[in-house]
Symmetry: C2
Subunit: 493 residues, 2 copies
């Protein structure tokens, strides 16, 4: 059996100097799980950051090998990794198996990407010594690593957005060292994956400072984000925690960029012809999307907008029917479960909001186009709010009320083209991804994915946290002017 | 003669509702110049921002035509534009002629760029309906305008970094509307150029909200940066003002990115063989770079580092000799002239810092490798600080003390390769552009230019404010998943 020591992983060394420890319990049985975890001390965080700052330039080939080796090592952990993750999160093994595939898949996608060197955005303006009035210099410009990055593990993706998740994979691909703050809800899973990374670094004889992992809560996170050696932050989680990190980073003597992905209500628009021809399929499809992962996805469809019609009524029935038979899931943490109850209570207490269905597996709320603004606050969990409009004008007005969302979806069929066109335009100004005849959950990891929208969905809509374009968060360009051959020959690109 | 009305330009309308006005004087003769300028009211700023927010998607071809038309209109202003700029800034007509060329040149470079559509970074992942366990969706991803941008005119580039300067050109190229706060030191020049832009918009029948220009000081700037419709900020100026804007933008309910280019001391390293073979040429070349534009460039070489030697002594003599005959220039504003005197005084008062030469045209200070940190504060004006090292180890240690600079330069000749290689590496971690055997002034406008370094040189080292890559500041990606043909056909790219 894999051993879990509870250590912080400080640039390849064990960090166990704290007098504060914590343990975790099996999320379903309540039994205490193996491992006593040391909360990182300020000195341990500092040692991790200083080791990261010492890491020099690493060739892309070596970084690609590292990413591949990490994927191999994670797979070699076998079922024990999945079982520990299941015990810590209550997520089903099938889901975790898929998530492991995604995690290793994205590590290998970044490996393949950096082999192409396209991420370096290499540019060359040749010299023109004869140009008047001034000769033109030779300029070569390419991307360098931003420097040490702090990554916050997410509660809802113990593998794909945690220790070796998208933020870590993209930062390492960029050549930026990573210090992960493990999410305290799955520290054992984090340690197993963290050791898969440190082992890979050791196997390939790369600098140990490339990766560290620390345990702890908000205080450890603050020490990390305020450390002078840290040059960027990757975060997936709540709007409140994300904004706190943004504020902290902006107030540093040397401000640093924060890429926070903070979730969203992901509105789904159902147009008339679509409802006429496939209201039942939309209802059951939506129910599946709402309940997937106990609704604990940043892409959970939290709001559905449609115009009253017979099709809309049939859709509602199908949705409620499907939810009535959905199994009640166990949420990731007690805190998330409490927040979900409170969020549902607050939503149902708003003027004009009614409870349409309250099943153990999922809840449906309903309101009208003149809903109060608070109704658009994200409720993290298996619920959705239906917004019933009387006309296309009302639906259009509702679309204008969204400010920053990860996604928006439009269900359309022939006859809906005009409204689809205008909605797509309105929504493209407000979201990162517009989906047609689909649901927002299930985020493809690929070069053309955009997972990040205007604030408050993300801290900076110019970047993505899913897909290979995510590497751009951790790179900065440097230009070399009239570089001699012995310099130019050693430049990336 | 061109008329200067003093109006704010609010989306094509005249803004003259303020009860606060100001005028400016000829910088050389002291005579009052034509034009009484209205400081923009909160309502006028609001009207400009709201009009900008109403601007829809504009095809790249129309934006390219606009940029070309603006360049044509600026050229059509003829000598009167240059004379007004000369009167307001004391910059010589020859320099302003060159700056006009650069301004129109970069407008046309951005026009050519957006014709290629490469700035859209179009990505397409085709669908694979047969994929298991889940079908793969079709994804198309491309860049959209970030939205309305606030641009702050710079004092030291009345044309190339002001109303129609690099920030405005790149933002308009991105399709993001622009609201310029004109620099109060050259409001007449600003109005002439601002009208060249509004005329071009009118001629091409584009939305008037694409461009506005307001007059005022820090208060108007704050109103602008805090306006909810503004999605990004472009700024060139002092570290203090830049940081204030960064803090203001980060504290908004919806934080927005600020691209602030705040200057730098641009260290120049002189290596042994280079000094042996061409110390006089380096001395006179450096003097020209230090005094260019009365030293009022963000790329002014404010620090020179070398190892004591006969060549270094000859270099010092040549530098001081060249500066002794440099003409005394008139600085852009009284404020800048005062800051320069105070900066020189503060520098010379530091322990270990000596005044080596104090000529009307330029000043040289001198210190040793153990200089106090304050010696690296930028002194904006025609001065430079020599740091004399005893050894390569000392020079290496000095290189490590820089934290964020726009540029660093290395003068080398055969025999200096090893030190050049290690210095280039150290400096590439600290600057945006490394220059070999050249001086930092004279920033080429081209695709491979990087003008932006780690903080405090710039607010975000991942972007450039000079060159065509600057357009990336004002773009955000949106992905379209399974878009039907009638949507896909109208997407950019």
């Amino acid at each position: 059996m894999l051993q879990i020591t509870g250590s912080n992983l400080i640039a390849g060394a064990e960090g166990t100097s704290s007098d504060q420890t914590f343990s975790v319990h099996h999320r379903l049985t309540g039994e205490e799980l193996p491992g006593l975890f040391w909360i990182a001390t300020r000195d341990e965080v500092d040692a991790a950051c200083m080791a990261a700052a010492e890491v020099g330039t690493i060739p892309a080939e070596a970084l690609a090998n590292l990413l591949d080796q990490i994927a191999t090592n994670i797979e070699a952990l076998g079922e024990e990794l999945l079982e520990r993750a299941h015990a810590e999160t209550a997520l089903p093994l099938a889901r975790l198996t898929g998530e492991r595939g995604r995690t290793c898949g994205q590590l290998r996608q970044f490996s393949a990407l950096i082999h192409t060197k396209s991420h370096l955005d290499f540019r060359h303006d040749p010299a023109d010594p004869a140009r008047t009035p001034l000769p033109k210099p030779d300029l070569k410009r390419m991307h360098f690593p931003l420097g040490p990055v702090a990554v916050f593990g997410a509660s809802n993706f113990p593998l794909a957005f945690s220790v070796a998740g998208g933020d870590t994979a993209s930062a390492l691909a960029a050549g930026s060292p990573v210090i992960v703050k493990a999410h305290p809800a799955h520290p054992g899973t984090s340690e197993l994956v963290g050791r898969a990374i440190t082992d890979a670094i050791q196997t390939l004889n790369l600098p140990a400072g490339l990766f560290s992992m620390v345990h702890g809560g908000a205080e450890v996170g603050q020490i990390l984000v305020q450390h002078p050696a840290i040059r960027g932050v990757g975060f997936t989680g709540s709007a409140r925690a994300g904004r706190a990190l943004m504020d902290l980073a902006a107030a540093r003597p040397t401000p640093i960029p924060v890429f926070a992905e903070m979730g969203s209500v992901n509105p789904v628009f159902l147009l008339r012809s679509a409802l006429e021809s496939r209201s039942e399929a939309i209802g059951t499809g939506l129910a599946a999307s709402v309940t997937m992962g106990v609704g604990q996805f940043c892409t959970n469809p939290g709001v559905v907008v449609g115009i009253k019609s017979e099709g809309w009524s049939r859709f509602k029935s199908a949705l409620v029917e499907a939810l009535s038979s959905a199994a009640q899931g166990v949420m990731l943490t007690d805190g998330i479960a409490d927040s979900f109850s409170q969020g549902c209570q607050a939503l149902s207490a708003l003027p004009g909001v009614e409870v349409l269905a309250d099943h153990p597996g999922g809840k449906v709320f309903s309101t009208f186009a003149d809903f109060p603004a608070e109704a658009l606050h994200e409720v993290f969990g298996p619920s959705t709010l239906l917004i019933e409009c009387d006309s296309e004008a009302e639906l259009d007005a509702v679309a204008h009320r969204f400010t920053g969302e990860l996604t928006a979806s439009i269900h359309w069929e022939p006859g809906d083209e005009t409204l689809t066109q205008s909605l797509a335009h309105i929504l493209s100004l407000r979201v990162g991804r517009v989906i047609f005849n689909g649901f927002p959950t299930g985020v493809e990891v690929s070069p053309a994915m955009q997972h990040g929208g205007p604030y408050p969905a993300s801290s900076d809509s110019r970047f993505t946290s899913v897909g290979t374009a995510g590497i751009q968060r951790w790179l900065r360009p440097v230009a070399f002017q009239d570089a001699p051959d012995f310099i130019a020959a050693n430049l990336p690109g």
